[in-house]
Symmetry: C2
């Protein structure tokens, strides 16, 4: 009984490892196959059509690797291409936007919420729509913060990342620069009585402490990562596809990054454990997948 096939997790880079980590914590018997498209990261400022094409390539890549469920762990990719992947594949494909929207709607008392995301995700209006599909009476303010992504990306590349557990080491990214950027970028969320904010980018949980300082203690900050992990559990549970308890989970990582060593070092501190099986995938090979016929 049970299904020991891995769960696929796809992100534009390392940010989705926050989601993979939440899945590994929530479901310790589940194997995970992760793909980080680091070479083409960030997706946030790219045209929606281009991102949609990337998602289609990755859907094909995962289709050949027998995963039982795929998580599009990047908000920008979810906004642009989730429905494409869902129509392409025979397995359930989950995004991070619907779980995040559920969480923020459930968390608010004032029914005034904030969305902190990349520009692409904000512009897509997907969070607003997902929130209003659940509760038409909730008011939504958005704040794009591309600079938050940059701060996290830069920190990933820094040698100071070595030896740290980012999600555990709460003060690491709590710098003066990060605080100044957050104070500026979060301004659209201030003064409206907002009491719950969704972190609509998988990079952002690493800056949660900084955001909390800016927003104040009365605001609940919700991350898509935990919500998505709970959603994965519900899907697999209801479908009878959870791996049997005690199953030895395996974690496999693939990346388009040519700097495999750096991906391993940085990834370890986002995922919270050593990345042991890491494979390089050439962007050209992904692009070749796109030219193959596919019934869309």
């Amino acid at each position: 009984m049970g299904d020991t096939r891995p769960i696929g997790v796809f992100d534009s880079g390392l940010g989705g490892l926050t989601v993979a980590r939440a899945i590994a914590t929530e479901l310790p018997s589940e194997s995970i196959r992760y793909f980080g498209d680091t070479e083409r990261c960030p997706y946030g400022e790219r045209p929606q059509d281009e991102v949609r094409g990337f998602v289609a390539q990755l859907a094909r890549w995962f289709d050949a690797r027998d995963v039982k469920l795929l998580v599009v762990a990047c908000n920008t990719a979810t906004a642009a291409g989730l429905s494409v992947a869902q129509r392409m594949l025979d397995i359930p494909v989950l995004g991070v936007i619907v779980p995040g929207a559920r969480a923020v709607v459930q968390a608010t008392h004032t029914r005034r919420v904030g969305v902190l995301a990349t520009k692409g995700t904000c512009d897509s209006g997907r969070y607003r729509r997902a929130i209003h599909a659940l509760d038409a009476g909730v008011r939504v303010w958005q704040a794009p913060s591309p600079r938050s992504v940059e701060i996290v990306e830069r920190a990933v590349a820094s040698p100071h990342a070595m030896g740290r557990d980012w999600m555990g080491d709460k003060d690491y990214l709590d710098t003066e620069e990060a605080l100044a950027v957050a104070a500026e970028d979060l301004a659209p969320l201030m003064g409206h009585g907002i009491d719950a904010v969704i972190l609509g980018c998988t990079h952002f949980p690493l800056l949660k402490q900084v955001y909390q300082r800016v927003l104040g203690p009365g605001v609940t900050i919700v991350s898509s990562a935990e919500e998505t992990a709970r959603e994965v559990r519900q899907y697999l549970g209801r479908a009878g596809e959870l791996a049997p308890e005690g199953h030895q989970a395996k974690y496999h990582f693939a990346t388009t990054s040519p700097e495999l060593a750096q991906f391993c070092v940085a990834g370890e501190y986002v995922f919270g454990r050593k990345l042991e099986a890491v494979e390089h995938v050439d962007v050209a090979d992904l692009e070749a997948l796109a030219s193959e016929g596919w019934p869309l």
Copy 2:
């Protein structure tokens, strides 16, 4: 700590007691204030605008009664007026369609699902949209069955209802007539590889055994009632508004039915316990609420 205010549950008649019952089972410490608009039941064939007006009246009625969360436990009313109630009230208002859509999307393996509902709910397209918002790759077939509502309503009014627990007494509605109607009305769901069907009307759980016989054992039948009860738990839990464990729940019922005794007898067998506090509300008083000013 905790919030002992009741949960409001609103339905066009008795069907929503299947939802109230699921909430009472899932959350035994929670008080419930139920409203059944029996005098104007069924809503299923009425114009959407009219049903929307009814929902607005009931939202006002509940607003004056200090409930902490309101469930619109009628699919037709959810489809027509959920967003109106959400914009009118300061509390969370949950419908039954989104929880049901979640459940059926999670339950299917073939990613081909059926919706069995009233004509109004089918025509509104809300289930199809809610399902596709979660998974654009799931194919949906709909089957309206107004006659199922009639069979249940007639059985409610019958003296044979006395002394029965409808949800427990599985064979009670499993008659030749019900089977013939189900075989005919469920025809649009047959032969498509559907492996999960949502009962998109609160009356229909009472006919679940009949539907299962028609659909066959390989099809999972999902009822909105349990899903909605789980959703209520999530909302209250996350907002810190669950009643403290061991709190003595009180159940209060109101109905527009002029036949209070009959409402009590029939209600008891859907709700699964005696209806002790039952109040009659005049339709004219609800209509008067509609003429009062309200900032919509």
